[in-house]
Symmetry: C2
Subunit: 452 residues, 2 copies
Amino acid sequence: MNFELTRDYVERLREVVEARDEATAVTMLRELHAADIAEIYASLTIEEARFLYLLLEGEKASDVLAELEEDDREEFLRVLPSEVIAEQFIHNMDSDDAADVIADLSEEKKEEVLQYLKDVEQAGDIVDLLSYDEDTAGGLMAKELIRVNENWNIMTALKEMRKQAGEVDEVFYVYVVDDDGILHGTLSLKKLLLATPQQRIKGLYKPDVISVRTNAGSEEVASIMSKYDLVVLPVVDSIGRLMGRITIDDIVDVIQEEAERDYQMASGISADVEPTDSPWMLTRARIPWLLIGLLGGIFVALVISRFETDIKINPQMAFFIPLIAAMAGNVGIQSSAIIVQSIAANTPGIERTARKLAREFLVALMNGVVLGGLIFVYNFFTTDTLALTFTVSLSLFGVIMFASLFGTLIPLLLHKVKLDPALATGPFITTMNDIMGLVIYFLVGRMMYGIF
Amino acid sequence: MNFELTRDYVERLREVVEARDEATAVTMLRELHAADIAEIYASLTIEEARFLYLLLEGEKASDVLAELEEDDREEFLRVLPSEVIAEQFIHNMDSDDAADVIADLSEEKKEEVLQYLKDVEQAGDIVDLLSYDEDTAGGLMAKELIRVNENWNIMTALKEMRKQAGEVDEVFYVYVVDDDGILHGTLSLKKLLLATPQQRIKGLYKPDVISVRTNAGSEEVASIMSKYDLVVLPVVDSIGRLMGRITIDDIVDVIQEEAERDYQMASGISADVEPTDSPWMLTRARIPWLLIGLLGGIFVALVISRFETDIKINPQMAFFIPLIAAMAGNVGIQSSAIIVQSIAANTPGIERTARKLAREFLVALMNGVVLGGLIFVYNFFTTDTLALTFTVSLSLFGVIMFASLFGTLIPLLLHKVKLDPALATGPFITTMNDIMGLVIYFLVGRMMYGIF
């Protein structure tokens, strides 16, 4: 299956759906991956989507359901009877996907769907999983896994594994537990392939396995899996009993969302939005940041109004207001972004704050000298007011120094008090930088115009 | 192995290293994961690092080497003789890690290390891998994998797999090829567990396997693996022969780097820097953006200077310069960020540009009316100049409309001409927004002060 081919295919299927050509659509759906079908859905009208969905067969229908965006899925499930949801969709799903789908249903529908499930073991697994917070290891894990007892020999283990394998989609590791279900290690499939039937598990397995507790946060899970290059991570309860496993594909989403959140924060979007969301949703996601910006702007206007007479006498002072404000903002965001990223990436937190500030101070000094010097040269040759020349370059230097240290300190402080350090790249801090920058500018200006 | 415990351990080891306590360090190293040891390295001085490295045993030494940051690793390898690199480090590595390490060596050292490798098959694999571009599927893949011929039966396959398993670290899938080595499908380990010895592979394997060509870009590989939730992706050559496999842990890094790049772009940092880089590196990464900002600021100053008489007569006009400039920038970045993310996430690109602009127009209209209205009310009650009140609110409305459409259009255009759309969140476009915003502001001002 080639990727370029799939893309063309997607385009063609969309045309077939628009033409309501059932026969061709069924043939095409058979050859498409569930993820591709889900992707097509996002671009269809509700009627087109329903037309296509009804043509899906058995397991593929539930795969597509699991791949749909949460909003689309909820909309879809709302119109289906609980019995259909249970028997046609949930029945074929892994416990983690099933729990995710059921968690989004109304309380009443949740109960109904669970009652309609014929496989009591599956229903039990789902109920167990529903008890965990969505953003914890417990909420992310699937119950399906293969476990063997350390006291078995390979032959017994293989027999038991065959029984368990039926319900597991992909076998990556075999987990080794003791009689109490406590996780002790993993048996790689390589070892299994190389062993003789009579060998005991006890002597074969790798004892030091990295695991997480059910209550570990999803970001912690993500950082452990990416740091140790893990594909699957077993989840244990507080006394070490094996409860489930998390596969990396679920974590890739967490990692992406985390990165997107920081990016959105830096761009002033407050909620998770897609460009295909309704204009109303988009406005709601954007206006809070803009309101803070507006308030900041009003505050800045009040600050500048204190210098009204200075401006009346030297209107050229007004020319460089945007430059000072923009540079304060830029430098502040740069400094914060570097710190935010290092906190997010968990880079050696061992470094002391003092050392970070010292380094930032040096960087600011270099930037300040270069940029302040350049603007000095520019103004020296283009204006005849020496006061303005000195004001702009000296205050630019001061603003760069201030914004750098402020931009470094704020995310560190936010992190210290357990707030999201990415807030530092938001409009609140930027406005603070603007205000301080302009105060510096006008005070320096008053001084310079007094001297020259 | 518990994560919290590991963290404490890391701290303690650092203290042991500082005290040069060899015996304790050796015991502690034995219990630590290579990734943790590599993390400690980043926070040590060169002498401390060397002290610790010499205490590492066999395979762990090469694992740690593979986990080190590229810069640290290069520094380290520079001082080691080629023979040691070959026999102590490369020898124990998977082909993909080995190729990565060797690729960073000088041409001369590269040759030497390859000659010192005793395992000719491994050397051959590495030479093959070195021929691919680093950022392609070929450059990312490892040669180690398990392949079976579709004509074998399970018994033969198991025998062959045992032979191959020796050199493969983790067996996730068994790949099925024909006599020409063309990839035809995968045999899940589950199927293998459930099959009888005489069954033929042909009837057991799953035929439609998603694969990529060796020349596929790393971002394409990342988007395929994350879209289809793959843990391993086989790589084929132009005629479909199985060449290697890419595991998701290598791709997690690509995904993270990609997200970080957009974030850094939005924060005005031009190169990939860590807060632990030297002040000189940090300055170099930040100053280009600031220079553009400075040029923009000078340009803005020139624009405002055209309105010097307006300011002299109505200095209050200057008060709201930062507000207008900041809002133009904020709105523009918000609009661009949403588009940049949707391009990066490959969300249904099927949507037409016209539709995107229409939606953005609606959002801008709502934002413009709300924010313009608020500032109108504020100024109406706090100032006595009706002209100013109308100027600020009308131009704010205009600026929001303009910056929204501009912010949406630019990344789409950049993407169209194959440039990185994230450039739109950089200072160049922000400065353009500033300029247009202030021109609108002063023109509206001139009109209003003419009327009232």
